[in-house]
C-alpha cells in the first residue's frame, strides 16, 4: 500500500541511508529495528510524506507522492498518521487534541459552526473521538487539559489522536521507549486493534522483544541500508544476514 522505493536521505553532508526500499500493506505491522541514530525517524518521516526523499520515490497505492500536485499530496498525506517518541500534544483539552485530525479535514464552514457550538456548550464529541479514546483507555479524561496527563497517558492520547481519523497507515516512532510496562501494554494492544481495523502499522523501535511481540514483519536498518527484511519469526530465529545476526544477538554494538 505505502512504499518507499530506492529512497536516500542525508543530514548535511552525511548520508543517513542510501537506496532504501521498504513497504507496508493494509492490516500488517512492520517493525523497523536498528540502533539509535541509524535513521529510523528519518525513514518514518519520509514515509509520512513530511520529508521529501533526495532520491527515489514514495508511492501510495502506486501513486508517486512527490510527483503529484500539492492538493493530491495533501490527500495522500492525510491517509497517514504519526506518533512521535515525545507526546507533542496541543495546549488544549484531551477531546480537542483527539479531534484535531478530524477538524482539519472538515470544510471551514463546518469548522466555524463547530467552534460556535463549542462556545455555546451544545457541541457533542464525534463518535470517532470517543471510540479512539476507548482504545487507549482514556474515556474518563475527555474534558481534562492535556497538560494534566501523566507521561504514559499523554503518549496514549497521542496514539488516539492519530487513530481518530481512521488513517490507512500509522507510523509510530519509538512510541513506548519512555513508558512503563503497563502503558507499553496499552499501546501494544492499541497497535493490535489498529491492525484488526486493517490499518498498516510501521513501528520504529530499538526494543527487539517488542518487535517480536507485535510485528508481522521486521526490517533491520543497519549501516545506511536495510540489512534484512522478512517475517518476524524467520528474521529473529534464522537471520540470513551476518550483521543482522550479530545485531540481534547483541554482538554488534554501535
Amino acid at each position: 500500500m505505502l512504499r518507499a522505493v530506492g529512497v536516500s536521505q542525508s543530514r548535511g553532508e552525511e548520508a543517513v541511508f542510501r537506496d532504501l526500499s521498504v513497504g507496508v500493506d493494509a492490516g500488517e505491522v512492520l517493525a523497523v529495528i536498528g540502533p539509535s541514530g541509524v535513521g529510523k525517524t528519518t525513514l518514518l518521516r519520509t514515509l509520512a510524506l513530511s520529508l521529501e526523499p533526495e532520491d527515489g520515490r514514495v508511492a501510495f497505492d502506486g501513486t508517486d507522492a512527490w510527483k503529484a500536485d500539492d492538493s493530491e499530496r495533501l490527500s495522500l498525506r492525510r491517509r497517514t498518521g504519526m506518533v512521535f517518541q515525545e507526546a507533542s500534544l496541543f495546549d488544549a483539552s484531551v477531546a480537542r487534541n483527539v479531534e484535531y485530525g478530524l477538524r482539519v479535514r472538515r470544510s471551514w464552514r463546518d469548522r466555524l459552526r463547530d467552534e460556535l457550538r463549542s462556545i455555546a456548550g451544545s457541541k457533542k464529541h464525534p463518535h470517532a473521538v470517543r471510540e479512539s479514546l476507548e482504545v487507549v483507555g482514556l474515556t474518563g479524561k475527555t474534558g481534562q487539559h492535556a497538560g494534566s496527563l501523566s507521561g504514559g497517558e499523554a503518549q496514549r492520547l497521542s496514539f488516539a489522536r492519530a487513530l481518530a481519523y481512521d488513517p490507512d497507515v500509522l507510523l509510530l516512532d519509538e512510541p513506548t521507549s519512555d513508558l512503563d510496562p503497563r502503558n507499553t501494554a496499552v499501546i501494544e494492544d492499541a497497535i493490535a486493534e489498529a491492525r484488526d481495523r486493517d490499518i498498516g502499522v510501521v513501528v520504529a523501535t530499538h526494543d527487539m522483544h517488542q518487535a517480536e511481540r507485535i510485528a508481522d514483519r521486521v526490517a533491520v536498518l543497519l549501516g545506511k541500508h536495510i540489512a534484512e527484511v522478512g517475517p518476524t519469526g524467520s528474521v529473529f530465529e534464522n537471520p540470513r544476514d551476518e550483521r543482522t545476526r550479530k545485531f540481534i544477538s547483541g554482538e554488534l554494538v554501535y
Partner: protein, 248 residues
C-alpha cells in the same frame, strides 16, 4: 461578574479626578479629563489594534520562513524597541507636513498623525515579542499539527494558539509603550485643546507634562492617577481573558 467589575473600574476612573478635584480644588473645565482620557485611549488603542493586525502576521511569516538577512531584520526590529520616540515624532511630523509625502492629507496636529507615530512605536515590541513567542512553540507540536493532516494555515493557527499568552504580552507591551509615551504625540499632535477646554490632541501624558510645567501639580497628579488606573485596567482585562483560556 466580569462586566460588573469592568463597569466598576470605569466608574472609578471618573471618580478619582472628581474626588481629587474636590479635595485639591482643581480648576477642571467640564469634560476636560474625560476628553483627554478619550483621546488617549482612542489614539493608543487604534494604533495598537492596527499594529497588531500588521505585526502578528509579519511575526508568523518570519517564524515560518528562512530567508537571507533574517537575523538582520530581527536585529532591526529588536533595535526598534528602543527607538527614541521624539525621533519617531520628528520623522512622522516631516512625513505629514506640507512638504512631506503625506502632506496632501493635512494631518499635522491631528489624532490621525498621532496614531501613525504610535503605530510606528508600538510595532517593534509587538512584532519582536510575538516572534519570540512563535519561535518558542516546540518544533514537535508544529510537526504534529502537520503530520496529522494540517495544511500550512492549520499549522499556523495551531502555532498562534500555542503562542497566545506571549502574543497577549506583546500587545500589552505595545499598548504600554503607546499610552505612556509623551515625545512623539507632543510633536505630531501639538497638545491642543479647543477654546472650551475640550481635548483635541491632548493626551494624558502631554496634559501631565503641561500641568506640571505650569505648576499645577495637583492636576498633574490626578491625571497621573487616571493614567496608571487605565494601564492597570487594560492589563487586568487581558490577564483575565488569558486565565479563561487556560481553564478552557
Amino acid at each position: 461578574m466580569e462586566r460588573r467589575r469592568i463597569r466598576g473600574l470605569t466608574v472609578s476612573f471618573e471618580a478619582i479626578p472628581q474626588a481629587l478635584a474636590g479635595v485639591l480644588d482643581l480648576p477642571f473645565p467640564e469634560g476636560y479629563v474625560s476628553s483627554i482620557v478619550y483621546v488617549s485611549l482612542y489614539v493608543s488603542l487604534t494604533a495598537v489594534a492596527l499594529s497588531t493586525l500588521f505585526s502578528v502576521p509579519v511575526a508568523v511569516a518570519m517564524g515560518f520562513s528562512e530567508f537571507p538577512g533574517k537575523r538582520f531584520v530581527k536585529s532591526v526590529i529588536n533595535a526598534g524597541m528602543g527607538f527614541p520616540s521624539v525621533v519617531v515624532g520628528l520623522v512622522v511630523l516631516f512625513a505629514v507636513s506640507n512638504q512631506g509625502p503625506l502632506g496632501p492629507l493635512e494631518l499635522v496636529f491631528t489624532t490621525e498623525a498621532m496614531i501613525i507615530s504610535q503605530f510606528v512605536l508600538a510595532t517593534p515590541p509587538i512584532t519582536a515579542i510575538s516572534l519570540a513567542a512563535i519561535s518558542g512553540v516546540r518544533e514537535n507540536v508544529r510537526d504534529a499539527a502537520r503530520v496529522l493532516g494540517g495544511t500550512r494555515l492549520d499549522v499556523a493557527l495551531v502555532v498562534l494558539k500555542e503562542a497566545r499568552y506571549g502574543i497577549a504580552t506583546a500587545i500589552l507591551a505595545g499598548f504600554g509603550r503607546a499610552i505612556s509615551e509623551v515625545g512623539s504625540v507632543l510633536i505630531v499632535g501639538g497638545n491642543i485643546t479647543s477654546a472650551d477646554g475640550v481635548s483635541k490632541t491632548r493626551t494624558l501624558t502631554t496634559a501631565i507634562q503641561l500641568e506640571a510645567r505650569q505648576g499645577q501639580y495637583g492636576t498633574a497628579m490626578a491625571l497621573g492617577a487616571v493614567l496608571v488606573a487605565l494601564v492597570l485596567a487594560v492589563n487586568a482585562i487581558v490577564v483575565r481573558f488569558g486565565d479563561q483560556g487556560v481553564r478552557r
